[in-house]
Symmetry: C2
Subunit: 428 residues, 2 copies
């Protein structure tokens, strides 16, 4: 089997005005869909965070990809590493998301090749990762502080005809009461059994008050997480971490650097999770040296794919770290890949993050995947178990063309609301 | 697909009187062949070191194995871990080989399930481990000090009609000249491009003299290794290690414990390899803490299978350790599995060990696998690419029944030659 075509399709999906440490989500989030076709008539899919940089990086490896055997991921990865390392070696940025294009190229091709391998073998991708530990993969509610508005075509407007979660999703959430109301609507719709709040938006005391309000509302049986995206100092992290002892399942990236996280960890009983201080295999020796976190949040888009994420899971088992999963905005191809990974990881110790409830469009056949009882059921069928809805893909690509965004920049978007707003690496 | 039958067949293969730190190889080495059959008519093979303890451990999990889906290794492994951990948790012994039955049970089932998965998918096992990095997998010549004799039915006698390597294999090698002559014959027959000597048999000065003789005979382009099986003290290791600086590719397990190895490593430029101080995932945190070795010798029989060995390879890549492979006596099913692993490990940095030249019998269709130019070419065909020769298996099982050995015990065998010989953990 040989790869004969590689299609790279940037898309834009409507996204509400969600606040985070880097600013404000634009009305559209960007993703890039990669489709590999083979001489045997199969097609393999993947989806990665979208930007012109990622699209260019993917286009730059197309000549290497065409002609290779998709059953041999190691050979393809070695080819890319040998020929393209310099131009793809972008260091991780300071933003809460991850700008390294090399790992995203690896991820796209690893996932698409596994989809092809699964289809060629008649097996789900999870079996090619060692087997299905769970058919129903648990996700966490992912709350955001947000401005009022729907995003997408409505930009910052709202759809008055929306009902249920679609209506709740449009409402502002700028204080603890707003956060609790959002949680109630999201949990009612999707049945999530754990809850995460994206922090780093307001004074720590306000965000801690929101966590306490969630704890009062949902009680001790619903695990809670707060993610200030490393905007706090070590001292702030310890101070407010202590205020939340006993309330949080874990505190995610309160501050920067492995040394900083280690200092906080020594002072708190609450476990610390990270997708900011330990984000690559190169960071793992430092993680061991500093004992910087209790839980590593894998993300196959940023750890180089599903095979690599399984290697990370093995590291976590060996070095007594828990495993959970980070998320950015995404569509169904990524959700399927995340779910196969979650189904295959023996030591998955926490419900996974997903932004999925914040989108409403889809690019896969059958439309939106279901989240029921807080879980996504492993898609049936070989490979990832999802197929492209080509009309929907064309619409999402047309959105991309029309919206004019070429990369994620929450700072620019935030300035439309707060003109002199500036991103800070450490704020409180 | 479900597993419907699990067959456990102990076998004995003729083995010459090879010396090592634990004593002397008996005239037969023991292996156990595991065969899984499925409701779809497939059969999956594996081979592990043989003993009544391993056979009993395998028999104890049969009830768990029957009925499971062999495509789902994670689920089967979890079942075994949940139900059988206590009785299988045998600690690693002090002998140079590894007595833990639990990892051997995991290994047998992981390999046999991968063989089934490969056959079900029409793919080589190496592709199910991520892909084929090399079709020709390099092995190292594995020299032994030995008494004269053929082993097997001839016990300590010799076959006067033997020619070539089969004749050379029978000769004694008890000093540097004997070791060099053995190396010449083995390299001429198999084309090995690196050479290992099993040490721990004689005074260190004699073994060091043998390495120097090999270096003079084969020159600086043939990498050399010496394995004293941890019989040396730290001081002896440093002293003789310094004498061999510049001659060895690596020095394997000169002494015991991660701390001891780390002390030697700090004193030498020669890299240290181990299959004795870092032998399990539980040992990896200590390996990082002490920096005890440069190279880890995986062995899928003792690290829990091929999936686990790939996880070990990822650890070695992340923590800057080289990867090579340990061997015990084995037949073609193990050689095929070792070769698939060697074909799939991206960071295989050294030629692998194999005892294969010391045996002459086989249990697979087609007889002895070829070693040419020091390499084994990845078997063609799906799965492991080997099938049982049932008549040969029956003969090898009959050998087992007849020879009366129930476990490996080189000390007892050695006493037949040197009546008061005693195993010592540290000798020089």
């Amino acid at each position: 089997m040989r790869i004969t075509e590689m299609h790279i399709t940037p898309i834009a999906l409507g996204d509400p005005p969600l606040l985070n440490a880097a600013g404000l989500h634009a009305p559209y989030c960007l993703r890039t869909v990669v489709e590999l076709k083979t001489d045997t008539g199969l097609n393999g899919l993947a989806e990665v965070p979208g930007s012109v940089a990622v699209d260019a990086a993917l286009a730059a490896v197309r000549a290497i990809v065409i002609g290779v055997d998709p059953l041999n991921w190691h050979a393809l990865r070695a080819k890319i590493a040998a020929q393209c390392t310099p131009e793809l070696s972008v260091a991780r940025g300071d933003k809460p998301w991850d700008g390294r294009t090399r790992v995203q190229v690896y991820s796209a091709l690893d996932v698409a090749c596994l989809d092809l391998q699964g289809k060629a073998c008649g097996q789900p991708v999870a079996n090619l990762l060692g087997g299905i530990v769970r058919e129903r993969v648990p996700y966490s509610a992912y709350l955001f502080y947000k401005y009022e508005g729907a995003g997408g075509e409505l930009a910052f407007g709202t759809d008055p005809n929306a009902t249920g979660w679609a209506a709740a999703r449009q409402k502002a959430a700028l204080d603890p009461d707003g956060v609790v109301a959002q949680a109630e609507a999201m949990v009612a719709e999707f049945g999530f059994e754990s809850i995460k709040l994206k922090g780093g938006c307001f004074e720590p005391a306000q965000e801690v008050a929101a966590m306490k309000a969630l704890h009062r509302r949902f009680g001790p049986t619903v695990p809670l997480r707060l993610d200030p995206n490393a905007l706090w100092t070590v001292e702030t992290s310890i101070h407010y971490g202590r205020e939340m002892e006993g309330i949080l399942e874990y505190l995610e990236d309160p501050c920067r650097t492995q040394e900083g996280m280690a200092a906080v960890r020594r002072a708190l009983k609450t476990p610390l999770a990270t997708n900011m201080c330990t984000t690559s295999f190169d960071d793992l020796p430092g993680s061991v040296k500093h004992a910087s976190e209790d839980i590593i949040l894998t993300d196959h888009h940023f750890w180089g794919g599903l095979h690599s994420s399984m290697e990370l899971a093995a590291f976590c088992r060996t070095f007594s770290r828990g495993v959970s999963m980070h998320s950015n905005n995404h569509a169904g191809i990524s959700l399927a890949a995340m779910t196969h990974l979650g189904a295959a990881m023996p030591n998955l110790s926490y419900a996974l993050d997903t932004h999925y409830p914040w989108q409403w469009e889809e690019i896969i056949v059958g439309g939106r995947m279901k989240i029921e009882g807080g879980c996504v059921t492993l898609p049936k069928g070989p490979g990832l178990g999802v197929e492209l809805d080509r009309a929907a893909l064309a619409r999402a690509h047309e959105n991309y063309r029309r919206c004019g965004f070429t990369e994620r920049n929450d700072e620019i978007e935030m300035r439309k609301k707060v003109p002199d707003w500036k991103f800070a690496q450490t704020r409180w």
